[in-house]
Amino acid sequence: MDDHVITVLNNIGGFSFIALSAYLLLLSGEISFGQQAFYGIGAYASGMMTAMFGLSFWLALPLAMIVSGLAAAAVGGLTLRLRGLYFAIATLAFAETVRLILVATTWQVEVDGEPVGPNGSEGLGNIRWGFDNEYEPVDFLWMIYGTLGIVLLLFFLMERSRLGSIIRTIGADRLLAETQGIAVTRYKILVAGLAGALAAIGGAFYAHIQTTVYPENFDVMLGVHSLAYGLIGGLGTAVGPILGVLLDVGFLEAVEWIQGYRMIVFGGLVAVLLIFMPRGILDERRIHRLRTALRGRRQARTHGAAGA
């Protein structure tokens, strides 16, 4: 496969994690402009563990998820009283704080005679686990899509479970959820933590493919895109945000010729789409219709077979 195609596919896969992270929060009724912070925490934490302390990526990944998940749960706990726009602004403020902390942080250790570790605005370099172990971009492709497959499977199971119903109920009407005896506070913190851990997976892969990450990688642009993925692709299914990533990255690739103006055109298209499809392409109604049609076809086939 062409290296360029692999890079694009790796980007789509990597962004899918942060898209699913923002989607999970959207399901619970919260709009976050700050998921890039947890993507960044995942990138830095995993990168530091492999580059500075020689851990394997496969151990650094779950540890980075735990670090990021705990940070996200803490933010979720602190912002429990905030709703709507206030919550969105608080998440954005947190993300900017994380970015500025990364700019101000310098902590380096010597590895093979080289200083390794976060170096302020110069970022965290020498994340060479993939390079040193001769992992090619195509190997990361399998790693990313394998992990994404597992995450999607967990999403499908969750959406059919009691937890999924609770999250959607909280998202639809928090007061109604409370009157039904749901411990909204506990579930909100749980969702925030899970969303943080999810974003960290994307960040960890990004850091190990790029080998160097900078604080500015995790600025508001990434946060806006991660939110837009779910809103474009649709909130009816976990496939929605991934469709959003596909359309975004695919669109940017297709209109390469308009260069620096691509983002402006993309922003306009998103605005138009949201006017006509406020809950995205694969919204709850379309997914329900699709499921009903598929169930009807399956039942007709079963009856047909029984009749014969």
Partner: protein
């Protein structure tokens, strides 16, 4: 449980960083051509410890914009050997002005990966 912990320890320690070998020192200088956003770049490659110029290496350069990670999927370009030892040259077309991170992958007599942040102005 003991087996799981032992397994995790093996995974954790088995794929640590490679032993010290000479690393690449890369210097890049770019000049905009008459066509806007098209740059002619000179790359100097040497051994970090030895300080000697590295010849006969395969050098690939891939630009990415740190503030827009993954948004500009610009293809990697190959840097060709120039007239002096350790000198390589490449031409690249960027999407916009600003700070770019150039990821330089070196294979051949020296194997390394180096990322440099450079500001490209009008």
């Amino acid at each position: 449980m003991r087996t799981v912990i032992a397994g995790m320890a093996v995974i954790a320690l088995s794929t640590g960083p490679a032993l010290a070998k000479d690393r690449a020192a890369v210097k890049i200088e770019c000049k905009e051509t008459e066509t806007s956003l098209v740059y002619d770049c000179a790359l100097h490659l040497s051994g970090k410890k030895s300080g000697k110029p590295v010849e006969g290496a395969k050098v690939a350069v891939k630009p990415d914009m740190p503030t827009m990670p993954g948004a500009h999927n610009i293809r990697a370009v190959e840097a060709k050997p120039a007239d002096k030892p350790g000198a390589y040259g490449f031409k690249m077309k960027l999407d916009m002005y600003g700070i770019w991170a150039l990821k330089v992958t070196v294979t051949g007599p020296l194997r390394d990966i180096v990322v440099q942040k450079i500001e490209f102005r009008k």
